[in-house]
């Protein structure tokens, strides 16, 4: 089977980001998506801490300790960007003003429930950040994740077994094997990478998939 590596997954997500979009990229693999958005598109990146039009990393020695993104990395601001406080930043997120949010996930359910903030390990201290606000607020929520976990268990399930981030919030899932949409009819495979077959992908999925049209 063809399994995309994280860079290829980010590249695939980037293809679905349209010109002129306002986008929030989650911490980790989602952040890589920006590296693959075509240079002929203008995409404006929002950072939950209070930035619109996040630019690339600063040159060494040019870092401003105040100017960081949600992942606590030093960033810059593009011309045309601006700053605001956290309450306004989350008004933007929760208020449906972002076109797309891209998040990682532990699990996604057949009806688009998202689990990406906590496992069932109660001893490990939990942290949620802005994931729940993005989940309910973005116009489109893209999830990018491996199709199965380290033990080879499916991450797409009829029901999530980890604590939920939001219910019925995911529109599209980008895995290392396929692209799958959450639709009212169920999980619709829209793209199989390489020569991956529907049956191969279904076998690694914990919920029933609908074959590509």
């Amino acid at each position: 089977m063809l399994r995309l590596n994280p860079e290829q997954m980010a590249e695939r997500v980037a293809k679905d980001i349209p010109d002129g979009a306002y986008v929030n990229l989650g911490i980790g693999m989602p952040t890589k998506v920006a590296n693959y958005v075509s240079g002929d598109k203008l995409v404006i990146y929002h950072s939950e801490n209070g930035i619109l039009a996040v630019g690339p990393a600063p040159a060494p020695g040019e870092e401003n300790p105040n100017l960081i993104n949600a992942g606590k990395q030093y960033v810059t601001l593009l011309p045309g960007g601006c700053y605001f406080d956290n309450a306004e930043s989350f008004a933007i997120m929760r208020g449906g003003h972002l076109d797309i949010a891209v998040l990682g996930a532990f699990q996604v359910s057949a009806r688009g429930d998202l689990a990406n903030w906590a496992t069932n390990n109660d001893k490990y201290p939990p942290a949620v950040g802005g994931a729940m606000d993005l989940a309910v607020g973005a116009r489109k929520l893209f999830v990018v994740m491996k199709h199965t976990d380290r033990e080879g268990e499916p991450k797409i399930l009829e029901q999530c077994t980890y604590p939920l981030t939001g219910t019925g919030v995911v529109q599209r899932i980008f895995t290392d094997l396929a692209v799958i949409d959450v639709t009212p009819d169920g999980l619709q495979v829209v793209e199989l990478f390489g020569s991956n077959t529907f049956d191969e992908v279904q076998a690694l999925t914990g919920a029933r998939l609908l074959p590509p049209a």
């Binding site: 105040n66 406080d85 956290n86 201290p125 942290a127 950040g129 729940m132 604590p163």
Partner: protein, 226 residues
Amino acid sequence: MIDKRVISFKEAVADIPDDAVVMIGGFGSSGIPLKLIEALRQHGATGLTIISNNAGVAEEGIASLLRDGLVRKIVCSFPRSAGSIWFEKRFEEGSVELELVPQGTLSERIRIAGAGIGGFLTPTGYGTKLAEGKETRVIDGKGYVLELPLPADFALIRAESGDPWGNLIYNTAGRNFNPMMASAASITIAEVNSIVAVGDLNPEHIVTPGIFVDRLVAEEMHHAQA
């Protein structure tokens, strides 16, 4: 006559009592009132409830308060960053209570505490573990959680520059929680890089109106007069 300048970080926090509820601005390394936190640590008030987005990393900021055993409870959206060793240790040993709040709910609960609003309905967290035990309702088919205001006794905030009336401007993403916290505490104490004369800040550019700020302390002032 209005002059909110205080001569030192030490004096600025001297009346924070044991068991106080203290908001602390900042997000990651950005916009944190590190000198006020250090003054609070040296002041040594115990049993504190800390409201902040993060719980500090390494030995700095809120991490130093946790290390010294001054914190009873933390209200926070993302306590566990890389290097949050003191939070993890105190959490594991059960000596600090955690109230985990989604980040947008945290900032809005702080905002409404300053705005005299008694609660708000947010879709954030509906249907999740973080809504357990909370009042919910469905309006037009969409689920909401009722969230209540989160006020504090003291707010320690960080700004770039201020004037003696307490008007503040910030540095880039250093705003984060600071403007809301300024409005939500009984006593708001601002740490700034520099203090300018009244009238030197452009009124169109002021982010936090001085009415929200009670005390102002600058690094230079501290060094010059301590």
